[in-house]
């Protein structure tokens, strides 16, 4: 565990929870997706220091969570999504180094339905710099995808065990490394091999969505999502592993 994480647990053992662990690693944005149904409609709160809340469309709140005593949001695979673009978020985005992490839980049928289901996606307006993570139309596969600067994309298609429990999914991209690396993670361990040659990411984010490819929405996610977070740095494998347990 990180030193700040250990210190936090010692100081607040009763209040310590998974979210505290996430926050100790200083995410750029962190949407736990744990709001209870309420009027007025709650935003998808960004509990990071930046506080750039997202907007729910059509999701069902209050589904069982990852086992942290909190709830998750359910996406219906038809027309639900959460829009994370905001005036405050846009200038924070940095293509040169970033980490994406989200927990997902789907039913068995979703792994083999022949449809794409996007967990999270972000792109610039010209769609020349993009990343996304989705359950692929190919059975039992998670697809991690990155394209920077319109150049040839990198992707990892990882064959999973078609889990039907909450699983953390993550990806790191680091242009600063000489080779420009992309690493993908599934359930705390690296998925597939390190991809190289990532360079040239640019442009303000124009589309950034949890649970779909865009705001149409196409590729709508079907299942539960929780603890969606972004970092403007590359989390280490040890950090990813730490965040992959409740």
């Amino acid at each position: 565990m990180t030193q700040s994480h250990v210190a936090l647990q010692k100081l607040c053992p009763v209040q310590y929870d998974y979210a505290s662990k996430m926050l100790s690693m200083k995410p750029l944005a962190y949407w736990p997706l744990w709001e209870a149904p309420a009027v007025p409609l709650p935003a998808a709160t960004d509990i990071s220091a930046n506080g750039n809340d997202a907007a729910y469309t059509g999701v069902t709140l209050g589904y069982p969570g990852i086992g942290d005593g909190r709830t998750s949001a359910h996406y219906d695979g038809a027309n639900d999504y959460t829009n994370i673009i905001s005036a405050g978020f846009i200038p924070l985005w940095n293509w040169s180094a970033y980490t994406v992490l989200v927990w997902m839980n789907v039913a068995a049928a979703v792994w083999i339905d022949g449809l794409n289901h996007s967990l999270m996606r972000l792109s610039n307006a010209a769609v020349t710099s993009i990343w996304d993570i989705r359950i692929d139309a190919v059975n039992n596969t998670i697809r991690y995808y990155v394209k920077h600067g319109g150049a040839a994309q990198d992707e990892v298609n990882f064959v999973t065990g078609a889990e039907t429990v909450f699983v953390p999914v993550a990806m790191t991209v680091d242009e600063s490394v000489g080779t420009g690396e992309m690493k993908c993670y599934y359930n705390g361990a690296q998925a597939g091999t390190t991809q190289i040659g990532i360079a040239g990411g640019a442009g303000n984010p124009s589309i950034a969505v949890i649970g779909a490819e865009n705001l149409v929405p196409t590729w709508p996610f079907l299942g539960q999502l929780a603890h969606a977070a972004l970092w403007d740095r590359v989390l280490t494998p040890a950090e990813i592993a730490e965040l992959s347990v409740v």
Partner: protein
């Protein structure tokens, strides 16, 4: 007032741009003004050619009857709603029949409406029929 949380689709057949926009604006206004669940507030998904849309909300059932749609089209066309005809076919996309209604006038079809699983189906069942419809037509609905 009976309400129904479910999914319905509309498909333009021969409405002109103004007529289509008028209808869509009215359909987007259906459903509750507030609800603790985002899923029950009206939201939609548009087909990639912009000629069809799927709506979901906690609808007033009376807003989705054949007569109500005829009344809407009557206003849009500026005609007596009784001059608008319709046909109904039951189509099963997953396990339940979905009534697919085509509205016409003077021998021309104008609009197709389908309440997935039928008005009164449970929300999960309506969702299953809707998702099965999207899957069967993914070439038109997905990028």
């Amino acid at each position: 007032m009976a309400t129904w949380h479910g999914y319905f689709a509309v498909e333009n057949i021969n409405l002109n741009t103004t007529q289509r926009q008028t209808l869509i604006a009215e359909l987007r206004a259906l459903g509750p003004a507030s609800d603790p669940q985002p899923a029950r507030l009206n939201h939609w998904r548009t087909r990639t050619d912009n000629e069809a849309a799927i709506f979901e909300a906690l609808f007033n059932e009376n807003a989705l009857t054949i007569q109500t749609f005829k009344d809407r089209l009557g206003v849009i066309f500026g005609v007596d709603p009784s001059t608008i005809g319709h046909t109904v076919n039951q189509v099963t996309f997953d396990t339940l029949p979905t009534p697919v209604v085509v509205f016409s006038r003077s021998g021309t079809n104008y609009l197709r409406f389908a309440a997935f699983g039928g008005v009164g189906a449970t929300w999960p069942d309506s969702g299953d029929e809707c998702r099965a419809y999207i899957k069967a037509n993914q070439g038109e609905w997905e990028s």
